[in-house]
């Protein structure tokens, strides 16, 4: 049944630090690499080396400019993927029962053997987190690397989502957001993590940490031009002033 569980034992999800993300796309690339060979159908590309390439990605990195009222603009790199919402609208609209939210850990998954590719779940998602694969004809989405995090055939340090494991800046964190004592929950509390589009009522599990406030300068910066050209003194100074007077 594509009803949502009343509650989930865990709320596994990601915490994405927008203060740290450098926009390198390593998380998107490693996501594509792992998931094209992992859970379900591959993430196909169409016309990959041609004029008009398209393809399925579960994680996409936008770059935004934020303009405060009285300070210089800031650049924020913004990875966007499934937020594994508590009230996931993509799950309840599914007519075939392919979409579901797991009661044990809250991960939202698609059973690709049941998906008929109607696309309604993608219409219901406010975050653009679901993409219909053009080759397989089934809906693809972030699985939170369900085939890594419980995988006892890989070393323990690898049992994290590929995006978290590959982030060179440490901007991505994985954990149980339902446990207030978990590292990710503490981080969210400390940094004031936010829900994306709270007005949509989806109760996203993934949290985004806004950039830390920037310093503001109280004294004007040093005049570097003056420092490079010190005022002349002595004989040279007298000559300089004399020439200036001649104007």
């Amino acid at each position: 049944m594509t009803t949502l569980p009343e509650s989930t034992e865990k709320k596994l999800g990601l915490v994405i630090d927008l203060d740290i993300c450098v926009g390198c796309h390593a998380c998107a690339v490693s996501c594509k690499e792992w998931n094209t060979g992992g859970y379900g159908a591959p993430l196909s590309d169409q016309d990959p080396y041609g004029e008009d390439p398209t393809g399925t990605w579960l994680n996409r990195i936008h770059t935004y400019e934020v303009q405060p009222e009285d300070a210089p603009a800031q650049i924020v790199h913004f990875p966007r993927s499934c937020l594994h919402c508590e009230d996931a609208p993509c799950v309840t609209v599914c007519p075939t029962g392919a979409s579901y939210k797991r009661a044990e850990d809250g991960i939202v998954l698609v059973n690709e053997d049941s998906c008929m590719g109607c696309g309604l779940c993608a219409w219901a998602c406010p975050y653009g987190a679901r993409e219909l694969d053009a080759a397989a004809g089934v809906m693809k989405k972030c699985t939170l690397c369900v085939d890594r995090i419980y995988n006892e055939h890989i070393p323990e340090e690898e049992r994290k989502p590929a995006c978290v494991r590959s982030c060179p800046a440490g901007a991505r964190h994985f954990g149980d957001l339902g446990d207030p004592d978990s590292d990710v929950s503490k981080l969210v509390a400390e940094r004031g993590g936010v829900d994306l589009m709270p007005e949509q009522g989806t109760k996203p599990v993934n949290q985004y940490l806004p950039p830390r406030p920037k310093d503001s300068m109280d004294t004007p910066p040093l005049n570097l031009a003056d420092m490079a050209e010190p005022a002349p003194s002595g004989m040279l100074g007298w000559l300089d002033k004399a020439l200036e007077r001649l104007g």
């Binding site: 049944m1 594509t2 009803t3 927008l18 998107a28 008009d52 398209t54 399925t56 990605w57 996409r60 936008h62 770059t63 935004y64 400019e65 934020v66 303009q67 405060p68 300070a71 603009a73 800031q74 650049i75 924020v76 913004f78 966007r80 609208p89 309840t92 609209v93 599914c94 007519p95 075939t96 029962g97 049941s114 998906c115 008929m116 590719g117 109607c118 696309g119 309604l120 993608a122 219409w123 998602c125 406010p126 975050y127 653009g128 993409e131 219909l132 053009a134 004809g137 089934v138 936010v194 829900d195 994306l196 589009m197 709270p198 007005e199 949509q200 009522g201 985004y208 806004p210 950039p211």
Partner: protein, 303 residues
């Protein structure tokens, strides 16, 4: 939203066919002449053709049967179940009527209620989507029901005319009034319901609104993708104005003119009026999708 031809054909034709089924089930139309046969075959044909067309937008139509399983939670699944139940009951109702000459009013009434419920479920597929304010904040179910029942009544009158058992011009005028008024009402309420109508902005989408105004500096990819093709469809203003005009003329004015003409030259022009009306409804249904904006395109800098 991407206006898929299969969904436009499906929603217009099955809505009209189900409307016709509802009127037949409520006992409209005489048992004389060719009427019962023409009406029943047309109702089944139009609804069935629409139903088959709906499979055209599925990436895996071989799995369409699975859509009957989630009626407890999904409006799309409810629609599928209700539609099959309506068609099955209509087939029984029609067989009893055509072969044995009995119209069981209770069966007809239940079938009519199911037909109306099916059209309502179709509308709710769109009306439930909070992500598309133009569908969820405007009276979408009322519009779908008005268009379906009005179109069904129009079809009933056209069939009466070609069966040689009357057909009322007044009835056609009333049916056209209902369909066109429900569209006018919906379009008026939907005006300005863009993707930001319920308060979603790029600031809420990124959570960066506390810092300042947000704009897209660099998109994730230079080409297009499924999300942009499906949910960032942009309709040209010129094209939309032309289609609105085509909708009013084909859907309302021309059928009205033909209905008036029928008084002078006979009812045989009424099927033509019906065809015009269907073409006009397709124009409006195209706009229903093409003009609807989904919130996720905010991430791509679409205002």
């Amino acid at each position: 939203m991407h206006p898929a031809p299969s969904i436009i054909v499906f929603t217009v034709l099955s809505g009209l066919g189900l409307g016709l089924m509802a009127w037949i089930g409520l006992g409209f139309g005489p048992a004389t002449g060719a009427f019962p046969w023409v009406a029943c075959i047309l109702a089944l044909g139009i609804t069935g053709f629409g139903g088959v067309a709906s499979a055209g937008h599925l990436a895996r139509p071989d799995r369409a049967w699975r859509a009957f399983s989630q009626w407890r939670s999904s409006w799309l699944s409810r629609e599928a179940c209700l539609m099959i139940a309506t068609i099955a009951l209509f087939a029984i109702y029609a067989a009893l009527w055509l072969l044995w000459g009995t119209r069981i009013w209770l069966l007809g009434a239940v079938m009519a209620a199911l037909a109306v419920a099916t059209v309502y479920a179709t509308a709710m597929i769109y009306a439930q989507l909070k992500t598309v304010p133009r569908w969820s904040s405007a009276p979408t179910p009322t519009m779908f029901l008005g268009v379906g029942l009005g179109g069904g009544y129009l079809t009933l009158q056209a069939v009466l005319a070609i069966s040689g058992v009357g057909g009322s011009v007044l009835g056609m005028v009333a049916a056209l009034a209902v369909t066109m008024l429900s569209i006018a009402h919906w379009r008026q309420k939907a005006r300005g319901l863009n993707r930001d109508a319920d308060g979603s902005t790029l600031e809420t989408a990124t959570g960066l609104g506390d810092i300042g105004k947000v704009r897209l500096l660099e998109p994730p990819h230079t080409g297009t993708n499924y999300l942009l093709k499906e949910m960032a469809y942009q309709v040209g203003r010129n094209r939309s104005e032309q289609l609105v005009r085509a909708g009013w003329v084909l859907g309302g004015a021309l059928p009205l003119l033909l209905a008036g003409l029928a008084l002078l030259i006979g009812g045989w022009v009424l099927p033509l009026a019906l065809l015009c009306h269907i073409a006009g409804m397709m124009a409006f249904r195209w706009l229903f999708f093409a003009e609807a904006e989904q919130v996720q395109a905010l991430y791509y800098g679409r205002g």
